[in-house]
Symmetry: C2
Subunit: 418 residues, 2 copies
Amino acid sequence: MTSAEGTRVSRRKLFGLAGAGVALAGAGAAAGIGIDKATGSAEAAVNTVEFEGEHQAGIVTPAQANLHFAALDVTTKDREKLRQLLKTWTDAARRMTAGQEVVPNGAVGSGDYAPPGDTGEALDLPASHLTLTIGFGPSLFDGRFGLAGKRPPQLIDLPLFPKDKLDPARGGGDLCIQACADDPQVAVHAVRNLVRLGFGVTEVRWSQLGFGRSSSTSRAQQTPRNLFGFKDGTNNIKSEDTDFLRDQVWATAADGQAWMAGGSYLVARRIRMHIETWDRETLDGQQRIVGRTKGTGAPLGQTAEFDELDLDVGGAGGEKVIAEDAHVRLASHQALNGVRILRRGYNFVDGSDGVGHLEAGLFFLAFNRDTRKQYVPMQQALSAKDAMMEYVQHTGSAHFAVPPGVSKTGYWGDGLFA
Amino acid sequence: MTSAEGTRVSRRKLFGLAGAGVALAGAGAAAGIGIDKATGSAEAAVNTVEFEGEHQAGIVTPAQANLHFAALDVTTKDREKLRQLLKTWTDAARRMTAGQEVVPNGAVGSGDYAPPGDTGEALDLPASHLTLTIGFGPSLFDGRFGLAGKRPPQLIDLPLFPKDKLDPARGGGDLCIQACADDPQVAVHAVRNLVRLGFGVTEVRWSQLGFGRSSSTSRAQQTPRNLFGFKDGTNNIKSEDTDFLRDQVWATAADGQAWMAGGSYLVARRIRMHIETWDRETLDGQQRIVGRTKGTGAPLGQTAEFDELDLDVGGAGGEKVIAEDAHVRLASHQALNGVRILRRGYNFVDGSDGVGHLEAGLFFLAFNRDTRKQYVPMQQALSAKDAMMEYVQHTGSAHFAVPPGVSKTGYWGDGLFA
């Protein structure tokens, strides 16, 4: 150990206090300032989201700007190893969401002759509102772990929808980790360290980075735009909509599996958007397909973004202003017997497609109480009739049961393994 | 056009003034507030980087947090079309870097029956310190455009280095666009709109997103960490190093091609990092490979990050503290006869590799005055001897001549086409 390390402080904590935007003239300036990382709930309150609670964080939490999502397969058949990993993950998540290293003094203090307990790339970064949310895929309940009797009826194998072009390498998974943060490096660090802790028990099946959250989940946020340039998620269920959350997002014990009470069901769909084709469509055409104006986001026939959608407004010639195949009509609760979902997706660009285009789109994430009654009928309507389907292609699909939040002494999925 | 659009204001400008962090309770609240987008150098000064100048922005500009890099091929053989596109791109870049739409009122005001002149996804976002930097690949000088005689001698076809595993789909390109911004959506929007303007003249060959800038380019920035968890680029040439910039970054007319005076040469290397293997290495091993301590970033044998590297410090048993195959030794100006480069790379995670790992690494970008004398000998030393090579793999490679900055009335590459 060098002398410099002897005086090392928790720079991560220090910078967390200073704020992400503060540039320091040489990190060496921090040396010698002692902050005890073991104390300090005051530090922990800076840019952090509470980890424990009735529900997992990362669902109604105001959507952070960046996402790293990973689906994993369990490579052992040892139920106890899986259970232990979930405990280990919970401990690590508690610490990382508080802006701490995976283990105390993890990156540089775990002994020179052992691999570091934290990979280190987030050392200088604040907590960045990191949330970590996990889910269990249908395949986890296939019998390997004695969980077949615990599979919730809502956790269906998603049907193949019309026009799906699913890549198996971008779908499924025994487990998922959703990491959201203000800083992509913090989200990547969190997933990478959970994956590292899972060596020998799990491995990455697929992963997806996203940016520019494609829906807001709080009325305090402005509605973001997707890569079609339109505001997206105006009518999303938001954290303030407590009635909708109760009725349409949170599972209850009466829904079939008591261990899922307070949990939810997460649908993940990788939607490639053919942005080059879209960009050649006229403004009028784009607006007809979406059913909203591009500038304000107002429903066609209305004047402001949050004006209520009126599907019956007539236009010139007696045709409806919002077309029968407009996206907003088919996805609306008015057309779906009141069904709503909580969307939490992100935009993505994954390089290029090899034939001259950007590989861009929307990584759709939605939480609902019963996928059979909410996401599935919605997507059936969209995939069969939505005019937008000409410009998009669903290339990845996965479904997860997201267990409830953990108590101060609990761990992710403790109810499932009880 | 709906009535809402009649009162539409430049929300992008408005939000730019309000600051990126300000959440507005419903964008509808902005309606009715008139800000003239045609005026307002005051607005333009918020979160913007000057586009014009002796050198292109995006080289010594303090590195922004996010990158979208695209390499393009020219699909026409018409020199004039290419020249016109560069003029069109310059106009668009002037506007976008000022926080404006590609064309005035582009996303929603270009007439309902024409494709929008701006794709719209950055409408509500501030300029976010966007910089756009372009370069010309060796293949642009192959004779299709009458430019063979203008090829700078420094713009070599890069040699194959030991251990390169290059994917042709991730290398080369007639042109490149480097977009850097505080917000990934702003960088993606900029590249996407330049690509769109190039329909029929260029198409995307490959593109790469990056985050967490892997080097700082100003002493006002703290040194960031790469995905090995180490501070990276401590000894980078920075914007304050005017002598190094003059000697080692900026091309002059005397270098061989007068049109390149004030320009530079950009090497782009996609470096896959085997982070899972790295994570199993001991702290001591990691530090020996890098030649620096993980915590402070101090060179081994020194105490603080910016302490000068001393390659001759002896350790126990007479061995040098900084090993003969340590990365920092081989890449140092001390070992390379004073050669330095200006690095401006970014970390990346591109999903997973299909065999259980994250597809993660460093998208290395470096500017130098003469790639033959700077990057090539440096990479030859590294690829042959660097202990780190066991953990990395170069999977993409490209080289570009980055022309000088443009004047108020000029356009990108005007000297080349004069």
